[in-house]
């Protein structure tokens, strides 16, 4: 029989042993915001000052020829306001990797066994398991918007992989119309830099759509002060519904009727 003193000592030692794990995790508290807009790969933005959604705006992923043609068709659809962007439907997650480049606030929450990337906009959650588990097994995984993420710590850098994406059927990288296949795999290195910025270096490997790994770095700055995350839901008062047939985005007046000229002339 163990004495009560010995049991107390074992409990204390066990507790102390668990402490360093938590103490090693970097402090990423606060509310952060994306730097540089929502065009995914700004290093190849064309034109260089393009915003995602501008007619004709694009980037240059290392696409195979067939996927370059798919992208060109999407670029033309964006310019014609006929691009079926899933997030315009209100309630559809933006998915990975787009979840790493939305507007509004971000929180990066470290816990001993998981890190959570929470976006105010959407809202969206990327849950990264860091407890040593593997990805969902082949007999469990299916195509989802945000995918399945597992990772580990390399010093103060969280390294995680993301698989199980929807691909062409829902993985939209940004409003230029960039897409990847359901065979895409993300490798993300997330850290707080010495200059105080958060940085996510995301490499997409996609043997179907890309000729080589595509690496993009997104940065986030900390919002000053005691910033409060607020509720955000696109369905709350959405005055920009999308025609599910044509993909056209309408603008509603306060009475709920379209103010668009072509809608009125129908």
């Amino acid at each position: 029989m163990l004495s009560k003193t010995k049991i107390a000592a074992i409990v204390l030692v066990s507790s102390l042993a668990a402490l360093p794990v938590q103490a090693q995790m970097p402090d990423w508290t606060g509310v952060w915001t994306l730097v540089g807009g929502t065009l995914y790969d700004r290093t190849t933005a064309d034109p260089p000052d393009a915003r995602a959604g501008d007619p004709g705006a694009r980037q240059h992923p290392p696409y195979k020829p067939e996927w370059e043609e798919k992208y060109k068709r999407n670029i033309a659809a964006v310019a014609a306001d006929r691009f079926p962007d899933p997030i315009t439907m209100c309630g559809v997650p933006v998915g990975f990797p787009r979840v790493m480049q939305v507007v509004d606030g971000y929180e990066f929450v470290n816990t001993p066994k998981q890190t959570w990337i929470l976006t105010e906009n959407g809202p969206n959650v990327v849950r990264v398991y860091t407890d040593g588990r593997e990805h969902l097994s082949d007999d469990l995984i299916w195509p989802t918007y945000t995918g399945d993420s597992v990772g580990h710590w390399e010093g103060d850098t969280l390294v995680f992989t993301t698989i199980g994406l929807r691909g062409e059927n829902g993985t939209i990288i940004d409003r230029t119309g960039a897409i990847i296949s359901d065979q895409a795999r993300g490798l993300t290195r997330l850290r707080k830099r010495e200059d105080g910025m958060m940085e996510a270096q995301i490499t997409i490997e996609d043997p179907v759509a890309l000729t080589r790994p595509w690496t993009v770095t997104k940065t986030y700055r900390k919002l000053p002060g005691d910033v409060r995350i607020m509720d955000y839901a696109c369905a709350e008062n959405n005055r920009n519904p999308v025609d599910p047939v044509t993909g056209k985005t309408y603008t509603l007046g306060p009475d709920g009727k379209p103010i668009d000229m072509d809608a009125q002339n129908k």
């Binding site: 964006v78 906009n121 509720d231 008062n237 005055r239 999308v242 603008t251 007046g253 306060p254």
Partner: protein
Amino acid sequence: MNRVIPISLVVTLAASAILPMQPALSHHSFAMFDRTKEVTLAGTVKSFEWTNPHSWLQLVVRDARGATKEYSIEMGSPNTMSRSGWRKTSFKAGDRVTVKINPMRDGSAGGAFVSAVNAEGKTLPLQ
């Protein structure tokens, strides 16, 4: 449908304007707005919807002949707007304001908010 553009509109080309507060048009296409143009509207606030995913300013503009037209002006969401100093009281019904917008391409009475000044010429939001 009245397609006559009110005389009070001043259209300016702003190829690379630095915008004080662009609405976070993340959740839908903004192809309907012409970001290369800015239109200045002088009018009276009818209402201000402080909501997700976008706040909306309803502005009544009177042209030189006395005819009025109501504009729907799209702004950001309360989270981001509040961090720039906006409050749901920043526009009140009856306020006389002058608002710059990126107009809708099809000429309909709406646009994306660019900036606003109050009757005293002070830039909104008042800090």
